[in-house]
């Protein structure tokens, strides 16, 4: 339960979520996310970061209601856990930080929620720490390796 380090904070539909800052490889502002063959929701698509392709997951789909539509510059947080790299789209919101020194005396409780490793009770709110490893494993397992079922009406008449 790695909750002792600095955190990157963002909000999804009233939920305050945190990422271990040590696992954040970068924050990209993107105008669009490209189509990823075989990608299914909550996978939004793919972007490149430092010339490498990165799968982007819609955090609103995972932790909130509805989904993000990229119609202007949107924020994608790129997190790395060993070889696993994933981009987390958090819409157009501004990010904030929770520093290690602010976490002393904070009560941390392990969580059994999907994609949440722990919850932290701060003065006025609860912060949920995202389990990026599980999120990566679950979302990549959705990537189709056998081709899409045709769900859309063919354009060829």
């Amino acid at each position: 339960m790695p909750t002792s380090g600095d955190k990157l904070l963002f909000d999804i539909d009233g939920r305050r979520l945190a990422l271990e800052l040590a696992s954040v490889e970068g924050v990209a502002e993107v105008d669009r996310v490209f189509f990823l063959p075989g990608g299914r929701q909550p996978v939004m698509g793919v972007i490149t970061h430092r010339s490498e392709p990165v799968m982007v997951v819609d955090m609103k789909r995972v932790f909130g209601k509805g989904r993000y539509r990229i119609e202007g510059p949107s924020t994608v947080i790129i997190v790395r856990d060993g070889e696993k790299v994933v981009g987390l789209c958090v819409g157009t919101q501004k990010l904030s930080f929770l520093w290690k020194k602010e976490l002393t005396d904070v009560k941390v409780t392990p969580s059994t929620d999907k994609y949440i490793s722990a919850t932290m009770a701060l003065n006025d709110s609860t912060v949920e720490v995202v389990d990026c490893g599980t999120l990566y494993d679950e979302t990549t397992s959705l990537l189709s390796k056998e081709g899409q079922d045709v769900k859309h009406p063919p354009c060829i008449k």
């Binding site: 669009r32 490209f34 189509f35 990823l36 063959p37 075989g38 793919v46 972007i47 490149t48 010339s51 490498e52 392709p53 799968m55 070889e83 696993k84 990566y136 990549t140 990537l143 189709s144 390796k145 056998e146 081709g147 899409q148 045709v150 769900k151 859309h152 063919p154 354009c155 060829i156 008449k157």
Partner: protein
């Protein structure tokens, strides 16, 4: 026999050996009793002799043979090597080095006078067998003498293969940038800029060609260990198998060969273990007791084909059909498949016709991995078999990896790339040209598929006219059309192997990153063909 293509390998290996000899002779001078050094020296000379024989450098072979003889004698001597012997070896070593330099520079060896040294070696060797020689040692080399060894750096360099991977990646990035510059230049009114881009293009393309050439290795690089593998498996299964390798001089990119090693071994293991019958069975069938496996490489257009053919029992399509049905596949669909299509079912995981599972293989075990590997490299796999006569596994692969010519096509706002080698033609079509998902093409009906649809995109009705990319999916009459919005460009693309988690994404064979950072997936035309012709659904 023209061995010039192996010269670089010969020089590389020989310089390594010479370096070992020089160190060994120096060590022996300090410690003449050290038999381990003598043994190591003997092995160096012996290897050089063997390589000279293979390359046809007879003068050098004979000269090395003489020194090897002297070393062999030293191995059996009760006394330590004399100073005279060591001096003679040093002198001979200098001559040997001169020979290698001459080979490197394509200069003849004929005018090198080795007679005196050879006679001296012969004399010492024969004298040693009778009585110890009393002749004084030759004068040590002096600065004024003719044979003072100089310092010369080899023209052959050892370079980590990763360096070439990086060079190729950088060249790929350069080509992407170049592609962008060319687009700007075509719109620009500046002659100087156009000429600059043209000159840059020529240099980058030359660089690319040179790097590709440096990465090429002969097919023999992966076949050297095969005889031993075949021997071991054959003995284990009490079979008699002869291995023939043809086309060893066909060259492929190192990365392709590296990926091919495991599939090749898989296929050969299958052939020995389950293709070739045991000697008694073969005799009963009127075949020679010794089976033959032929591994053959040859070029087909820009590709290399590797065929592994055995003259064993072959695969019975009828049994394969029964097995597939027993595994739960739809009987009607299986019955409608041609024998050729049925044979490809051996690439389904867990489908094997072998009645026994051995330590080595079962027909079908690993064939799914072989197919994935071949297709993952942009190649295709085909199986031909005649019951009772044998089986051929045909693997067609690109000869060069990573940078290939692609056609960029657009569907809505997305861009995909298709290997140009798979594109027959691009045709503009109106809606009325298409009926029932087909169109007339060169006097026949051509199957069409919406690229957006087949890739699973949510695409609304597109404006007409549109473009049909006529693609050859490989493996017989597999020509089909991909309907796209537009064909954007043709370019040299640096294709990256798909990293995690994108490996084995359906319909894709690689990825290129454009100069503006856009990721573009390379379409796997074999998988698209399978989808178009319905094979994917059966598998």
């Amino acid at each position: 026999m023209d061995n010039s293509q192996y010269k670089a390998l010969f020089l590389h290996e020989t310089y390594d050996r010479l370096s070992g000899i020089e160190k060994g002779l120096l060590a022996l001078e300090n410690d003449p009793w050290n038999r381990a050094v003598v043994d190591a020296l003997f092995r160096h000379y012996h290897s050089i002799k063997g390589m000279c024989a293979s390359m046809g450098y007879n003068t050098m072979k004979e000269f090395t043979h003489a020194q090897e003889g002297l070393l062999d004698m030293m191995r059996t001597m009760k006394d330590k090597p004399t100073e005279q012997m060591l001096s003679l070896l040093f002198e001979s070593f200098d001559m040997l080095k001169e020979m290698v330099h001459r080979i490197e520079d394509d200069r003849p060896l004929d005018d090198l006078d080795t007679r005196q040294l050879m006679e001296e070696i012969g004399r010492i060797s024969s004298a040693e067998k009778t009585v110890p020689s009393s002749k004084p040692a030759p004068e040590p080399p002096t600065l004024h003498g003719a044979r003072v060894p100089g310092i010369r750096l080899s023209k052959i360099m050892k370079v980590e293969s990763g360096v070439f991977d990086n060079l190729l990646r950088i060249t790929g990035d350069l080509l992407s940038v170049l592609s962008g510059l060319r687009a700007i230049a075509s719109e620009s009114g500046s002659i100087e800029f156009k000429e600059g881009v043209h000159g840059l293009g020529k240099s980058v393309e030359e660089l690319h060609a040179n790097i590709l050439s440096a990465r090429m290795l002969p097919f023999t690089s992966v076949t050297e260990n095969l005889p031993r593998i075949v021997r071991d498996i054959a003995r284990q299964g009490r079979k008699e198998v002869r291995l023939r390798v043809e086309g060893g001089d066909v060259t492929l990119d190192r990365a392709i060969l590296e990926c091919m090693t495991d599939p090749l071994v898989h296929v050969i293991k299958n052939a020995v273990d389950h293709g070739i019958e045991d000697p008694d069975e073969r005799k009963k069938m009127g075949k020679p007791s010794c089976g033959t496996i032929t591994v053959r490489a040859y070029e087909r257009r820009d590709n290399a084909v590797i065929e592994v053919t055995d003259d064993g029992r072959g695969i019975d399509p009828g049994r394969l059909r029964e097995k597939a049905v027993a595994m739960g596949m739809d009987r009607a669909r299986i019955e409608s498949m041609s024998d050729r299509e049925v044979l490809m079912l051996v690439c389904m995981p867990a489908l094997t016709l072998s009645s026994s599972v051995t330590d080595v293989s079962g027909r079908g075990v690993g064939m799914d991995a072989v197919k994935d590997m071949v297709e993952g490299m942009g190649g295709r796999l085909e199986i031909r078999s005649s019951p009772g006569k044998g089986t051929s596994i045909v693997m067609e692969l690109p000869r060069t990896a990573m940078i290939i010519k692609v056609l960029l096509v657009a569907v809505d706002a997305e861009v995909f790339s298709i290997p140009v080698s798979r594109v027959e033609k691009v045709v503009e079509v109106e809606r009325d040209d298409i009926s029932d998902g087909e169109m007339d093409y060169e006097g026949r009906r051509l199957y069409l598929k919406e690229l957006g649809e087949v890739m699973g995109m949510e695409v609304s009705e597109r404006p007409w006219p549109r473009k049909v990319v006529v693609v050859n999916g490989g493996g017989g009459p597999k020509t089909f059309g991909i309907l796209v919005d537009d064909v954007i460009d043709e370019m040299d693309a640096y294709i990256r192997p798909l990293p995690q988690p994108f490996t084995r994404l359906w319909g894709t064979a690689g990825l290129t990153v454009m100069s503006d950072g856009r990721p573009v997936f390379l379409l796997d035309t074999s998988q698209l063909a399978a989808r178009v012709f319905g094979r994917q659904k059966t598998a």
